[in-house]
Each structure stands twice: as structure tokens, then as C-alpha cells.
Symmetry: C2
């Protein structure tokens, strides 16, 4: 992934800018791949993220604000994101009786089943994306990212 080649410039880019552009380009690539891998299942990366959070909850339901807290990309409208999953039958929604302001989201059996199928392609996609890096390099990359 050569920065100058991708954005087709001959100019020398200052190191801070180049690094940030590089990060954005890599992110684009990651999102492209993940979006493509999930497309056959009809879910967006954000929706997949929510399904995985719900599975991680075990039998405890999650309300919208905790979902939002745990999402990789916090978005301003979790209500409508969950609407989409509801329409697909992947989640259930119920009003919390203990606190009627809250709503309880749980993953359905169908949601769990489709999630299991997605697990495998996601694992492969992720492995492929980082195939060029050794474990040591991955750790080093994480360490550097921590400083941003």
C-alpha cells in the first residue's frame, strides 16, 4: 500500500500528514474488505458489530445506550440501526419493565445462526488483511497506535 501511488501525487508529503493519510487509506481498505465479506449476509459492518455485542451479552439484554458505548464506531442513531436488525428478524426489542425509559435488545436464534456463518468469513478476512505482518509486528503496530 504505497500512499503516493494511490493518491497519485509526486509531491513529498510531510511525515505527519503522510502518516494520517496512510491510516485513512488502510482504514478504507479494511472497511471495503469487511463490507464485501458481510454483503452476502445483508448486514453492514455496524450491524455485525451490534450482533456480536449482543451475543457477548449472553442472556443479559442490552439497551441502546450500552450498545452505542460498545460499538467501534459510535453513531448518533442506534435506534434506526437496531430497526434494521429487527426487520431482518435478527434481534428482539422489548421495553424494560424495571425502567420503562430503557429498551431491551436481545439477539434471536436466527441472529445467532447467521452470526455464526459470518464469524468464519470475518475470521478469514481479518487474517488475510494482516497476513503480511508477524505477531511481533502486530504488537508493535498496536503499541504505536496507542500513542495517537
Amino acid at each position: 500500500m504505497n500512499v503516493e501511488e494511490i493518491i497519485k501525487t509526486q509531491k513529498k508529503i510531510p511525515l505527519p500528514s503522510r502518516t494520517l493519510i496512510h491510516l485513512m487509506l488502510v482504514n478504507n481498505k479494511i472497511m471495503e474488505r469487511i463490507t464485501g465479506a458481510l454483503k452476502p449476509y445483508g448486514v453492514s459492518p455496524q450491524q455485525f458489530n451490534v450482533l456480536r455485542i449482543l451475543r457477548g451479552q449472553g442472556d443479559r439484554p442490552a439497551n441502546l445506550s450500552t450498545l452505542n458505548d460498545r460499538m467501534v464506531s459510535k453513531m448518533s442513531n442506534t435506534t434506526r440501526l437496531v430497526d434494521k436488525l429487527l426487520a431482518k428478524g435478527f434481534v428482539d426489542r422489548a421495553i424494560c419493565e424495571a425502567n420503562r425509559r430503557k429498551v431491551e435488545i436481545t439477539i434471536t436464534a436466527e441472529g445467532l445462526a447467521v452470526l455464526e456463518k459470518m464469524d468464519e468469513v470475518m475470521r478469514l478476512t481479518e487474517a488475510d488483511l494482516v497476513a503480511g505482518l508477524s505477531d511481533t509486528e502486530l504488537i508493535e503496530l498496536n503499541t504505536l497506535l496507542d500513542k495517537i
Copy 2:
């Protein structure tokens, strides 16, 4: 930027996943900061990117497909992106007489003026984002990113 803390999980995340999530989180942070820095000028990061490409063209005009080629985030609709800049008076649009299929986009004096103001805040924002990294670390980060 601690991954587990931000997405509020206690689980141990496999290294490849963790690295990719980390990259996405860092990208979110970058986009947030850049969007915020540009907000007072009423332009989105994409629009800023186009303005900078146009300035880099010198007096040569750019057509839509070359703009799209050089953008950091290729998008499917450069027409409408340029529409926004046109509405703000930051660019001009003319049909290319040599090849009437093409359109020639140039940056206006007003576009150049506002871009100069944005340059400074962008430089500061970028510097601040990478303030925690030495030059050596930045180079190392670029090297690792090249492998994805």
C-alpha cells in the same frame, strides 16, 4: 487510546481483530478531529481534500475522474461533491472544449483564500494528533501500514 476500554469489553480480543479494531478507532479519532477543525469553514474533509488537489494542479484544471483518482477516500459521486464547492464559490466548472465529455474544475481566488486559512488549523490538528510519536516511530508506523 486503549481498545478494550473504549469498546468496554473485558474479553481478550485476538491479535488480528484487535489490530484492525485499533486502526478503525484511530481512524475515527482522526476523522473526528479533522471534521471538527474544518467545521468553522463549512467544508467537509472530502471537500477540503478536493480543494487541496485543485491547488496542487496549479493553473491546470482537473476533471472529475482525475479528482476522484487523487482523493484519499474515493467516492462514487464526485459530481455532487463539486456541486457543494461550486455553491460556496470555491471552485469553477466549465466544459472542456477539447473533449466535451469532460468538465474542467478550477479553484477560485476565494477558494484559495479559504484554503490558506484552513492550512494552518489543519497543520496544527495533524501535529497534535501525532504529537505522541517521534519521527522514528512515525516512519516505523508507515512501514508497518505498508504491509496491510
